[in-house]
Amino acid sequence: MIRFSLKGMAGRKLRTALTALAVILGVTMVSGTFVLTDSIDRAFDAIFSSVYVGTDATITGKSAFEISNGSGTTAPPFQESLRPEVAALPDVADAIGGVAGDAQLIGRDGKSIVFGGAPNLGFSVDPTRPDFNTLTLEKGAWPGRGEVVVDVSTASRKKLDVGQEIGVQAEGPVVQFRISGLVKFGSVDTIGGATLAGFDLPTAQALFRKVGKLDQIRVAGKPGVSRAQLVREIRAILPPGTQVRTGTEQAAEDAKATNEFISFLRYFLLAFGVIALFVGAFVIFNSLSITIAQRTRELATLRTLGASRRQVRFSVIVESLVMGTIASILGLFLGLALATGLFRLFDAVGFTLPNSGLVFSTRTIVVSLLLGIIVTLIASILPAFKATRVPPIAAVREGVTIAPGRFARFRTPIAAVITILGFAGLFWGLFGPDLDTTKILLFMILGMVLVFIGVAMLSAPLIPGLTGILGWPGARFGGAAGALARDNAGRNPQRTASTAAALMIGLALVTLVATLAGSVVQTFTGAVNEIFVGDYAITARNNFSPIPTDAAAAAAQAPGVLAVGSVRTGQTLVFGKPDFSTAVDPGVGAVINLDWVSGSNAVLAELGKDGAFVDKEFAKKHDLEVGSPVEVTFVNGNTGTFVIKGIFDPPSGGSPFGVVTISAAAWDAENPSPKNVYSFVLMRGGETEANAAVLGQALAPFPNAKVATREQFVENQISGLKSILNVLYVLLALSIVVSLFGIINTLVLSVFERTREIGMLRAIGMTRSQTRWMIRHESVITSLIGAIIGIILGVILAGLLILKIDLIDFSFPTLQVIVFAVAAVLVGVLAAIFPARRAAKLNPLEALHYE
């Protein structure tokens, strides 16, 4: 029986291959994701442990509370005087101090050197202990006074070399340095496209405004001293605000942020692989169902020869199992190619990921194969049962249909129940009380899956109506071919429905994303226009890095500037919870306008040493009113008590403010190297070309600062969202490609099934191009059905999510929806190319003899 199944597959190569593609793509994505992230993981591990090879212990500053990674907030530095004390300990052989910070390299053209959104890292290096340096010297010499070492990859990309001059900007204006050497980060050229700059300690301290302070001390113990003992000895003399770890622990700590990023990347990409597999399941299900219907006579003959129902079911399942296994194995290995491709792609967009060879772990093999095989198996269960219902008499009698299953008459109620359950799951996930993130995600994903399945089932009864409407233009203007196409699309509602369903899922997700993004943009723009009443905004070139406060100070000196208001942000501990707080300088009173519940806009300029303002929600949650005290703990461990001077009502798009906002003066006293996220400028004469030029001139010493009009500012802030959106579109396109194969498959099978019919049409005078036209039109109708249902579903799903997030107002993405509908037509046309050609090639005579 197994041999029979295998021979059967071999006899249906084309459809088996087309069906398998649906699995291959999903598995490739899953396997590629694992290979990519595992490879990055291993490379990073190697980097971080190589950095601390000679280090027995490290001393670092300690923040007063857990800082979330990527918040931009760093632990405060500690006094340099600790270093000689540590060096003097009996078991310590050597103790080297270091500082780190953001160091922006400025090219000869005066422009800052950035690759994508990658960071610009600066370090101090100690020429006497190269083994203690994070950087390894590749060429030239370690830097002395007035010198810098830069990474080899920046050097090669920007054609820099030893002996040349380069500008560096850290906290203050640009300083010129001579390149003394080229370096690597540990063993790799660079990480994530970051630029690297190394200085001697006093230079670095001056640049990063950490004179007399250190971020880290690296300690080497005397021979024979255990690391544990060394750490114990150091811990005894540590002042508050510092901590000691072994070198290995420090490596793990440094790797934490990247590890979190990698695991995020892993799950993010996996999600799209799984979506593609889910869509693939529909394609497999549909192809198998059609194939079974077409094999009715063959299966019935088997039954007359004594095959039992179980044997028939088994043969279908074995067939899918074999196909699923082969497809999964192919996908598994294609994943390796995908990972290589992704490494190249990331490199090409300036986000170079470390790569020390592809990692192909057992987990990758097991998970990829299992996922692919299980999805195929699940998709084949219903068709396998359908096959058992083929009656033996179908072997001898024409036109015997497969009896509907026991539950067929409950199909619509079952579909309705599944859909309702799906929406219930979504609702519970979104609005259920006290759910943690995992549960929310679980309910939402489960809900969506059920909704997709339910809607796919429910759409079958709508097919005749939909094909009638969508086929109308073709039938009206396309003549007989158009009318036939319409009737063909409608004559097997179940088949058309499940073919369209695969596309429906992709389009629903794309629409969901587009609606969310559109709504965010709309609401955000509204909020900016409401809050921001200045003329210009000053931000970093990449639109999000904080910039030195000196830039705002320089802008304030420019002629014609009436007011400059800046916003700083960072992590604090408020009411026992780590959260973002903000600080404003008095100038914001003139450039920002808030809707005050208590107090007035004057509060912005009058916060003083201990004033604060909060938003309405926060005030309500913690029972605050004007005059209430709020305790804020800063990263350095100091706690200040601030008095509420105002409460504001933020616009629905949110405000630039954190939970508590205090004055910049109070903030700067507690935060190491404070920076602005944005500065807003009000100028005499408003937005004019002359004013823009004046501001640009004033900011010339800060090449990383950028002047934007209000409109440009909104545009720039949104641009990040747009690139994320593009990435999402590309990833979702994968599932649309899978559904494309689904449509191709259905069409090929339909053409095959209608060989006689098409032959007859050709014989009575249908031309080749009419035949092609007929198939193409049928394909377009099918994909438009998928698109329409998908778009409606996507908008509904987005509406639900927006209902949950009260910061966003719903806005309908009209333009995108039109684009998606056009894209669906293109998918239909594309899918029809091959099947239409096959249909047109049918020789009328042979087709009529076809049996």
Binding site: R297, L305, G306, P391, I393, A395
Partner: protein, 247 residues
């Protein structure tokens, strides 16, 4: 209808079959009783639409009668469930179809042994060689159906029907898709199976020439057996058909 010296392997009693209900109901069989003795070739004849195929489907357990009983090899089959019917087909029934119904991806030999493969029985090599020899397929065994002529395909189908030595082989218009010379060869084979292997065969046909090889011919008209001939020649059968059609 009784045949004295041989036991009946196939018995039908007062079988009726009605398709559909209400105004559009069609009575394809209206009370048919038949005894098919073992080791004989029984032909069923009649005008188009007289119920020949329906009768054969019911006798073979492919379809159920509306009323009446059918027993195969002493076992009543009218109320059997699907798995019992499957067992019945494996042990007692073989089919030869008008359109051959070979599996396109299997070669001739694989098609022939398929009923045994399905039943999980190892073919007896000697029997198989004898069978293949007798249907005259020796050199085409490893060809796919698409590489065989219609006559060759039907030979494969006959070997397939005989391979499990069933109690009855049913053949519905086995020559319907073949030219008369090839058809004659196929009929010869069926006759040979009866003579040499003692096989019981029930064959539906509307060709007098085909019925002439039968031991007995049953004539159906409008769902009832109207006449029966034993050992008749083609002209006699033709005349009988003529008479029935003109009634």
């Amino acid at each position: 209808m009784e045949n004295g010296d041989r036991a009946a392997v196939l018995v039908a009693r007062d079988v009726t079959r009605r398709y559909g209900d209400g105004d559009t109901a069609v009575d394809a069989l209206r009370g048919v009783s038949v005894d098919v003795p073992a080791g004989e070739l029984t032909a069923v004849m009649g005008p188009s639409g007289s119920g020949k195929s329906t009768l054969m489907h019911i006798l073979a357990g492919l379809d159920r009668p509306s009323t009446g009983l059918v027993t195969v090899a002493g076992k009543e089959i009218t109320d059997l469930g699907d798995s019992e019917l499957t067992k019945l087909r494996r042990e007692h029934i073989g089919f030869v179809f008008q359109f051959f119904n070979l599996l396109p991806m299997l070669n001739a030999e694989e098609n022939i042994v398929l009923p045994l493969t399905i039943a999980g029985v190892k073919p007896d090599r000697a029997w198989l060689d004898e069978l293949i020899g007798s249907v005259g397929l020796g050199d085409r065994l490893h060809h796919r159906p698409s590489e065989l002529s219609g006559g060759q395909q039907q030979r494969v189908a006959i070997a397939r029907a005989l391979v499990s030595r069933p109690s009855v082989v049913f053949a519905d218009e086995p020559t319907g898709n073949l030219d008369s010379r090839t058809g004659g060869e196929i009929l010869e084979l069926l006759r040979q199976a009866v003579e040499e292997m003692g096989q019981t065969v029930v064959m539906v046909t509307h060709e007098a020439r085909a019925s002439a090889i039968a031991d007995r011919v049953l004539f159906l008209a409008d769902g009832i057996i109207v006449r029966e001939l034993s050992g008749a020649s083609a002209p006699e059968i033709g005349a009988a058909m003529e008479a029935i059609s003109s009634e």
